[in-house]
Symmetry: C2
Subunit: 155 residues, 2 copies
């Protein structure tokens, strides 16, 4: 098992994993988009567009060279109402279910953290669906705390 | 008491109110920016830039022609991982403390809601600091439910 930076050859497999992440959320709430050929294609374009950008760090978790998960970090300009000039964002993170509970996610996250720290980031943020208990618990285990709620009204 | 659309003459007063909203959050968490001349100036520019845009609705609550609160609604393109093509956002909302509990906020919100509905919006979102119990309670009273948590790690 190893964690490497995204290379072009991983992109197809990562896009397939992204479908699983979308479907997981779609099952929770139809507000999320269901995974499809189209979402995979869009995700590939997103990866291709960003994987060499300085403000992106895209990590791939491999099992015998095969992608089984990914962690995407991004450095963003802070919004006008907040104090930090730049913040770290966990854009997306996924690990195939059978590989969980092996500290692989934690290792990938630590690598992102090193990159954030090297870039003088003081605040790292991630949005998690409130009903995704596994996700909420995992991020809290990594030291995150809840500071905001996103509320929604469906009409 | 009346609720009107933002006019240029309100902008100075609204910017002053925005300072109170920032300071309220700054007291909860130094992650938020403290209100200042500079933040007021920036907020004025934000209002001037957006108040005539079609995807913005900026409502001002007046007491004898004097602004005592504001509600800012925005229509945004849905992010790639969600199903709705466009969503309604409550960008910001504030009402001076002594005018609360008089259904004024609710009235302003209802006006935004009409605008969202006229624009075929099916999902309206707002972010609230988790420690702002009054805010969380108010939005839930208006029918909102929590669907996401924003988590943060401070380094």
């Amino acid at each position: 098992m190893e964690i490497v930076e995204l290379e072009k050859k991983h992109i197809n497999s990562i896009a397939k994993l992204s479908k699983k992440l979308l479907d997981f959320h779609w099952k929770i709430d139809r507000y999320y988009r269901r995974g499809s050929e189209k979402t995979q294609e869009e995700f590939k374009n997103y990866l291709l567009k960003n994987f060499n950008k300085k403000n992106f760090k895209i990590l791939v978790i491999l099992d015998q060279k095969k992608p089984i998960g990914y962690f995407i970090g991004k450095i963003e300009k802070g919004k006008p109402h907040i104090s930090p000039q730049k913040i770290g964002k966990i854009e997306s993170a996924f690990l195939l279910e059978r590989y969980r509970k092996k500290k692989l996610g934690e290792k990938a996250f630590k690598k992102l953290l090193e990159w954030f720290q090297k870039n003088k980031i003081r605040n790292v943020e991630v949005s998690v669906d409130s009903r995704n208990k596994i996700g909420v618990r995992a991020w809290k285990r990594y030291g995150f705390f809840e500071f905001q709620k996103n509320l929604r009204l469906d009409l």
